[in-house]
Symmetry: C5
Subunit: 259 residues, 5 copies
């Protein structure tokens, strides 16, 4: 579960909700036809722009970005090194028992193939294909949320124009102008909130998460390949550490090696 993302999302919405309630008239902000127009038209336009399978996949991708455990690369390296130690000490087949206790399906699949004696090149190809798959889903998710962030305010504005036209046409009673305009503005508000409190931040976050997952999965692939080839655990660790970003690497191995 990505704490920052959830905190940020919930916090943003609590603030907006508080702002709506603070005025003492929260029900003034609810207009069902406006909600249907903005949310509906944004959805149909996304279906218009994107192939259906991409649209269907979006909930799964969003859920995985929001709830998937972010793997700590340092912890990951420690785990992979410990598997390498087991493989070296007790033979690679002994990893079969270990896989039962591993949560991450990607590591399990990799180690299982190594245990089964699948050709190393094929292991690498299969795992990299799964990784490519993942980035592609993240990229498609990002593009989809950017599209939402582009069309939601546009349909918000269209809704406001539709509301303004009728209101202005019947402007003989000035007392009605205010409430009519209030309702007309709601679609603009909905569009702005959908774009800035949901779609655009999700697109930004997905791009950053993609980078984090590619790093973790790349470390796993290199780790499984090293375990499979029976490398010395110390060498496995050194190899994997080169994938860490400099600020993580500096903490640990610089001092060790300098010693």
């Amino acid at each position: 579960m990505d704490l920052g993302l959830l905190l940020g999302f919930i916090g943003t919405w609590l603030l907006i909700a508080w702002a709506l309630i603070a005025g003492g008239e929260a029900q003034a902000y609810v207009d069902v036809p406006s909600v249907i127009l903005v949310c509906g038209a944004t959805t149909t336009v996304v279906i218009f722009c994107f192939p259906l399978p991409a649209v269907k996949r979006i909930f799964a991708v969003t859920k995985s970005v929001a709830f998937a455990k972010v793997q700590d690369p340092q912890k990951l390296i420690e785990d992979l090194v410990s598997y390498a130690e087991i493989a070296r000490r007790d033979g690679i087949l002994s990893l079969e028992n270990v896989t039962k206790d591993i949560d991450d399906a990607f590591i399990v699949h990799g180690i299982q193939m190594a245990v089964d004696g699948v050709d190393p090149e094929l292991i690498e190809t299969i795992m990299e294909s799964e990784l490519e798959n993942l980035t592609e889903r993240h990229d498609a998710g990002k593009a989809l949320f950017e599209t939402v962030g582009k069309y939601a305010p546009a349909f918000g504005m269209i809704g406001t124009l539709i509301g303004l036209v009728v209101m202005l046409k019947n402007m003989d009673d000035p007392a009605k102008i205010g409430p009519g305009m209030a309702i007309a503005l709601l679609t603009t508000l909905y569009g702005a909130v959908i774009a800035n409190a949901v779609a655009l931040p999700l697109a930004d976050r997905m791009a950053k998460r993609s980078g984090e997952e590619v790093l973790a999965k790349t470390i796993i692939i290199k780790g499984v390949m090293a375990i499979q080839s029976g490398d010395n655990p110390r060498i496995v660790e050194r190899k994997l550490r080169t994938f860490l970003p400099p600020n993580m690497r500096a903490d640990s191995d610089a001092e060790k090696e300098a010693a």
Copy 2:
């Protein structure tokens, strides 16, 4: 027929129509001079910006994007492999009978050339030239719809300014302000709807469809070339699968090969 595109298009317009009718005064949104100004000026500006032949071709391209059957790459590979099997078993000339049952003109043309003994290099050149042709038409279509999406709101704003000037000039009767302003805003509404519910989504969709068609046509070209050279059907399949995006490829061949 591209279900998503049509669903998205019809859904978007139903929602807009519903929003117009829901206010109880749908006729308030119809102003023929405003329609003529926005649609007319957008059309003439597109003719201004683009060479005439490109403008003429746009309807054909749009129709083909909206109604052409999207080819499933997996089904396509199966078909091509089955043709390769026939060619290998009964000789390449036996494909002549098969072509009668194939819908796709591109495959038929390719196989026909192979059956006619046309030089392989020439087959490839001709088929790739048709593919280039197709992408070029899609690119031109995308550019044209983006131009519509840029100028329609601009002429919407120009129409609103034209309406505002006359309305403001005669503002001695305050009761007329509302209706005058309502009509002035219509062109802005029309421009925003044309851009966001037609032109820009079509441009987005065309770019994505172009990618799908390039994939299908590339698979066909490689398939015809392999059939022509008398490759083993199993090898043909393996070659063609490398063109599948990873998420399609992973389903099938990874497991097969891993077995």
Copy 3:
């Protein structure tokens, strides 16, 4: 004469003129000081941004883009092949008589140099330098019109702000607000029309025309070089056809060669 461009330009302006007249008060849209401010300041800012020679050349470039005959590449190739046939049959000197009947100064200059026995490399250098010249002028024209399209709306807005300030300052008589605002809005209208009905479409068109002219001139250069070297007319045609975009090429030579 580029029919599409002129149709588009005239059509756009007829529609705008019709919209102005349709309201029954066309004179409401004419305010000489506003015209002077927007057109004047846009012109002076362009002189500010661009070196004077570039500004001076712009009328010539615009006229040539609007009125120059668009050369049909297929017709051009036929002509060049026919000259190649004459040169091969009657000797290159016999082309001297032919040049009298050719309209295009670029072809005439090229053939004349070939007839005069100018060194082939030098012919190519001179012709390519003229072509570079042409693209450079088109690029400069595009940049200049984009600058107009950027500053005209900006000075339109500045004019409106200038008008609003005086109007608001004297707002003691509410009856005057309307007409004052109407005049203030005129500069915004002028700026939007200059940008969207003249400058930006011309910039777009110039970029596209540049591409068409580069194609035609490249075919001419290659054709003159082939004529000069005494190539077989059939080979000349084949060489030149490779410069056609795929959609023109596919019509003709694919079938011919496949035959």
Copy 4:
């Protein structure tokens, strides 16, 4: 301490404060709920967009950009050359005493490693890793402030819409319109000030400072490497001067060498 940055920051805020007070009603600009909405939602959206560790690091980075001493590259080269002279005259171990008087931790760490006889390649790797680290932190800081500069005005607009809707709904008392609208506009004002007087200039400045620090640190790395290898101080100076931008270099070494 970066004088320009602090002067610019304080000056901008003094001017804004003066503008608020000049109207005689500074308290009109303080609305606690508006401050909470704009600042709060901008903060939560940043937490939504960025991984938590990146958000936490931002204060340290900002403080270091604002208060860190900007190193003068020319002074730096003089210092490094003087250390090279000491090392050459009295042996590299004599630098141990010198390091006590050096402020810059990066130089001290580098020289200390050289004195300790750490392998030259390792010294370079460690120092470059620290430099990479620094640029990465600056880049992340720039991206974060750009995100603030994007969402602060967006939530300012959302706040204004929220205020407008309630105000318009209760528009029966025209006397209340003004004050209600005044408060509604405050969030737009806050958003614009946060973006233009804090976030966007900080993002710009961080990019420029990053360039200055990379230059200084690169000179230090090359200097330490040259000291470690016992180069002639004159050669050290010449090597380091090549890293100076041309306008600094021209002052000094051109004349010297020309002499």
Copy 5:
């Protein structure tokens, strides 16, 4: 002195001044606090964004762009060829007398170094370093004016919001609305004028001038190098002409060589 730039600048300001006076109330546009806010905050933000030395250098760069004589490349080549003739006829030392009559310090410095027998490679390095210096100053000037063009309208909007809030708060007297709004709008007007009539055109012009100066200085460098090496003046001319843009080159050398 760059006639176009000055004409454009003065013309733009005369038109704006005329528009302000034409309304008969030029004093309505002068509000000292608004001037201080917009100009002041734009200046302090620029000091915030840019290192102080870059800000200081900006006046010198602007003055040099506005008043420096634009060198005609054709005239420059003629001059350099005549120096080459003198050097070839009377020996390179005879150029010492010539340099007294040359205005351009860059040519004088180059020839002086050649006369003094400075190593050719060093001459080239020094001159290119001065050229790099120049482009760098122009680039920094362009970036600085673009920053002004970005923040001036932003602080104009902030000023208008500040004015609106106070005005709306005290809206009990409707007669005051007009004048209050007029003053509030002034900062938006100032910001738009600073951006569109000063900063953005200067940024555009600086980029174009940079290109012109790089051309002139490159010709001078190549010319001095050729003079120094004692090349035949005819060869010097031919070499230098290759640096002319095609439209200048075509006039002259094509015909000459074709002859």
